[in-house]
């Protein structure tokens, strides 16, 4: 029954040529890896080199002052930093409950036949180019928000600083809502992965003690998933911070720091997008690149934090 074991032909010694080819192949791939590393370093180096004039001229005041005056060559990035942070936080505030809620729905409640279509549609949402979100934002979302939400709220609650001032349409709120729609798919998919790491026995334990579905979710998520969901949130934040086109098209592009969400704002990515080609003068260009550098560092810190949280705190989830 047993097949005869194949006899290994005795070849005297190992071929040397094979080793050299293997060596060359490995080193070639390593060289390409080195190129990718080099490109990343080059990006960083170029950003620093080009923003040096602005860094020398303005120093720390670049991120603490709020005058942006190309004519007088006074540049400071605070309004843009403010706009980026506020619109992104607003987006996260809207997107996290929706993303986590629908992740729970898909993983825990949705009937089998509904799971794939919903997650497919959410993936599709992530694949739409941001310029199309912007287009839709300008012509559909902004008018809807303006007429059905901002105007009535401004009439009723206009005395609250958050809703003060005339209603134009393009605003911090519009940017926040549009960003929320764009980052929800990411929060959704990471949340689903996080939820999937919960051991089935723990869920069953709660149910067997007579807990309702909701109590099971509350207890299990409270026990297991909070760090992971926090990681998903930070990941979504990283996405929102750097988003350019959609924000540029609906945020209103006015470099003021105003508390009201109904007023136009400006973001770091948007000012680079709008003014880069018009930047006359080296200092103007350098200031725009420095905004890019600040944004670059900000997203790096946020993304690394998300990665750290997700790899450290969520057991059973591959870090990526």
């Amino acid at each position: 029954m047993a097949r005869p074991i194949a006899r290994v032909p005795a070849t005297g010694k190992m071929k040397v040529g094979a080793n050299i080819k293997d060596f060359l192949f490995e080193k070639t791939t390593a060289l390409f890896a080195l190129c990718v590393l080099g490109l990343t370093l080059l990006l960083f180096a170029l950003l620093i080199r080009e923003s040096l004039p602005a860094i020398r001229k303005f120093g720390v005041t670049f991120v603490t002052n709020s005058t942006w005056d190309p004519v007088l060559e006074e540049f400071a990035a605070l309004p843009f930093l403010y706009g980026t942070l506020v619109s992104s936080f607003l987006a996260i505030l809207i997107a996290v409950p929706l993303g986590v809620g629908s992740a729970i729905f898909i993983n825990e409640f949705a009937p089998g036949w509904l799971k794939t279509p919903i997650s497919f549609l959410a993936e599709l949402l992530a694949a739409i180019p941001s310029v199309i979100y912007g287009l839709w934002g300008i012509f559909v979302l902004v008018p809807i928000l303006r007429d059905n939400f901002m105007k009535p709220v401004s009439r009723a609650l206009g005395w609250i600083p958050l809703f003060q001032g005339p209603v134009y349409g393009p605003s911090m709120l519009a940017a926040g809502v549009l960003l929320a729609i764009m980052v929800v798919p990411f929060i959704l998919s990471v949340s689903r992965e996080v939820l999937a790491t919960v051991p089935q026995v723990q869920k069953e334990a709660v149910l067997s003690l007579g807990g309702t579905h909701w109590e099971m979710i509350r207890i299990v998520i409270g026990q297991h998933c909070i760090p992971g969901i926090f990681g998903a949130t930070i990941l979504g934040l990283g996405r929102a911070l750097g988003e350019t086109m959609a924000v540029t098209m609906v945020i209103g592009n006015r470099p003021d720091i105003v508390l009201s969400l109904f007023q136009p704002g400006y973001s770091m990515a948007a000012v680079i997008a709008n003014e880069f080609t018009e930047a006359t003068g080296d200092l103007y260009l350098s200031a725009l690149v420095e905004i890019g550098l600040v944004l670059f560092l900000l997203t790096i810190v946020v993304n690394l934090a998300a990665k750290w949280i997700l790899t450290r705190m969520v057991p059973g989830r591959a870090g990526r």
Binding site: T40, L46, G99, W136, P185, T244, F296
Partner: protein, 278 residues
């Protein structure tokens, strides 16, 4: 039934309804966007859209033919540079990447993947436009390549790692050299996954606007060379959308329909590739 039991049951129902509602709200914009694209783009969706150059405001007709060609050109250039770099880097990381150098490369790729695309536009600008004093397809393509590379490196590495070690051992045991094993057996086994990654990355850079604003710049006419400004569909959609003219708004919607069709076809093909393999 005690009131506590009732309250627990009611909370359960309400929370379930809220979860359902949130899933509905997440998906809703997708339908709204597709509906509006077709509704508002339909008027301008004519054959001439695909074959004609843009016309000035007021003149009827005109299309985005130069943008379609430009998008394919810039995307093609970015991929021509990006695929070898990214796939070989992915092979290195998966097959040989154990030491400190590999961790550094992996870290760099992770960083690159998170960089906002507008910043890669600055990269293209500083690298090409500043020294050449001219906006160009090269500048746009190198910005797009920087988005393309980290996505493909990651998928290549992941896909290669799904190939069982026994496959490699089997090949090596047959006396096949290691480099041949890697190229013709391991990579071959993971090919569908790698190609899927490439197509998804392609779909991603196809729709990018921000990195092209001040690199490729856009062009009203046919492209004349790779060292010249070049039109792309996303750039056209953007400039039509922010223009004050109604018929240009129509063009923006129609352009968006063309763009999203390209993206959808690519992602569907990509998905089918991996599905049939499973």
């Amino acid at each position: 039934m005690t009131s506590i039991a009732f309250r627990r049951k009611a909370t359960d129902r309400i929370m379930k309804a809220l979860f359902l509602l949130s899933a509905f709200l997440v998906i809703l914009p997708l339908f709204l966007i597709f509906f509006d694209l077709l509704w508002k783009g339909a008027k301008e969706l004519k054959w001439s859209l695909l074959t004609d150059l843009p016309r000035p405001v007021g003149e009827p007709g005109g299309g985005i033919a130069n943008g379609i060609l430009g998008t394919l050109t810039v995307t093609g250039l970015a991929m021509a540079g990006g695929i070898p770099l990214a796939v070989l880097t992915g092979i290195y990381l998966a097959e040989y990447g154990k030491g400190a150098f590999a961790s550094v490369v992996r870290f760099a790729v992770d960083l690159l993947a998170g960089v906002p695309s507008i910043i890669l536009g600055i990269f293209g600008y500083v690298l090409w436009v500043l020294p050449m004093k001219r906006f160009s397809a090269w500048a746009g393509a190198s910005a797009l390549a920087m988005i393309f590379i980290p996505i493909v490196v990651r998928t290549t590495e992941e896909m290669l790692k799904t190939v069982p070690v026994s496959v490699r051992e089997g090949a090596l045991a047959l006396g096949i050299e290691r480099w041949k094993t890697t190229l013709f057996i391991t990579v071959r086994t993971a090919a569908a996954g790698i190609i899927t990654g490439i197509l998804l990355a392609m779909a991603r850079i196809l729709g990018e606007t921000a990195p092209l604003l001040f690199t490729a710049l856009g062009n009203q006419f046919w492209q004349t060379g790779l060292d010249q400004p070049i039109a792309t569909i996303p750039l056209q959609v953007f400039s039509y959308a922010i223009s004050p003219y109604d018929d240009w708004h129509g063009k923006a919607w129609a352009g968006a329909v063309v763009l999203i069709l390209m993206v959808l076809v690519l992602s569907t093909v990509a998905r089918l590739l991996t599905r049939t393999r499973k």
